[in-house]
């Protein structure tokens, strides 16, 4: 790129280019003017019209080339501007993501601090463990953070975002968490099989995106008026268990908010992976707590 800098230099544009365009015509005109009235043969004597036509064509060609280069430069600048905008947007989204995860960490940190403040003189490690570990609350926080991440740049008067988490239950999926709290899914008591968006995400272990819910047969409508918008379902896979433990659904009231393109899939996948890792971690903690309670319960009975 640096080697081509002379192309945009002022001396090149304002001196070299005009001279290169006008010089041949000028030299030709001077040549024929100097030989005006000379009847004996001299170079190019019989080609005066052709020479002037050729020098004119040369100037025209240079002018066209210059216009083409200007267009090319404009297109390059436009592409660069778009790339910079994309990079800025990507940078902002990355930091948003980081900050929404910080929110979740903050809530946990606060719980630890409160446990520290209320620690009795003779603390019981088991009780303290149960007090500070609240995977149910942390998963709720994570769902809220997913909602915040997808809501942050949405116009609240034009678009509403809902996030829900489903878990497998006897061959179907059922709701286990959602956010906003007041936006309880109308299909709360329904079971979702493998023909639905969430069910397909569960079975295929892939993100499933619907660009327009109204016309998508995979989306189940529970009211006479069909829901509008777009959504994606993301399977949360615990690699150690080798199972899909949850399916997260993010729904927007805006059609086309989520589009089924390779770029969008990659973007959603990269974002959701960050939240999924933490949800999976909290789920493992929940399983530990559940197991301890089962063992303690069993021991008590025995």
């Amino acid at each position: 790129m640096a080697k081509k800098k002379w192309l945009t230099a002022r001396w090149f544009r304002f001196i070299v280019m005009p001279i290169a365009a006008g010089l041949p015509s000028g030299v030709a005109a001077l040549w024929f003017a100097l030989h005006e009235g000379v009847k004996t043969g001299y170079s190019l004597r019989d080609y005066q019209p052709e020479i002037f036509a050729l020098t004119g064509a040369w100037a025209l060609l240079l002018s066209i080339t210059k216009s083409y280069l200007t267009d090319f430069a404009k297109a390059t600048i436009e592409t660069l501007e778009n790339t910079i905008e994309d990079l800025k947007r990507g940078q902002e989204e990355l930091v948003h993501l980081f900050n929404f995860v910080r929110m979740v960490v903050g809530a946990k940190s606060r719980r630890f601090f409160e446990a520290l403040q209320n620690l009795p003189n003779e603390p019981n490690p088991g009780e303290t463990f149960f007090q500070i570990t609240r995977p149910d609350l942390q998963i709720k926080q994570l769902i809220e953070s997913i909602h915040g991440f997808y809501r942050i740049n949405a116009n609240p008067t034009e678009e509403r975002i809902r996030v829900s988490l489903m878990r497998p239950d006897g061959g179907a999926l059922i709701f286990t968490q959602w956010f906003p709290d007041g936006d309880t899914p109308r299909s709360l008591r329904e079971r979702f099989d493998g023909t639905t968006l969430a069910g397909l995400a569960f079975l295929t272990r892939q993100i499933v995106i619907s660009e327009n819910l109204e016309t998508d047969d995979r989306y189940r409508h529970f009211d006479a008026r069909r829901d509008q918008g777009s959504m994606f379902s993301y399977p949360l896979i615990d690699a150690q268990l080798g199972e899909v433990i949850y399916v997260a659904n993010v729904t927007s009231t805006k059609i086309g908010r989520f589009t089924d393109t390779a770029k969008q899939r990659e973007k959603i996948g990269s974002t959701m992976e960050i939240f999924a890792e933490r949800i999976i971690l909290e789920n493992r903690l929940a399983l530990i707590k559940q197991r301890i309670l089962e063992i303690q319960g069993g021991g008590g009975q025995g």
Binding site: N99, R102, G148, P180
Partner: protein, 55 residues
């Protein structure tokens, strides 16, 4: 809870904020969004304009 440690480093003082979001109180959703936007802007500015400030 708001812990701020003023650490003296020769002639310059560095402020280390130990606060993490939501430690102080339960925030409303709007407060959280506002916090994320502000913090994001500050982080991006710190990483992009940091050199200007150090001049």
């Amino acid at each position: 809870m708001s812990n701020t440690i003023q650490k003296q480093k020769g002639l310059t003082a560095a402020t280390i904020k130990l606060d993490t979001p939501q430690q102080d109180k339960d925030w409303s959703e709007e407060q959280k969004i506002a916090w994320v936007k502000t913090t994001t802007r500050k982080i991006i500015e710190a990483f992009t304009d940091g050199k200007k400030e150090s001049k």
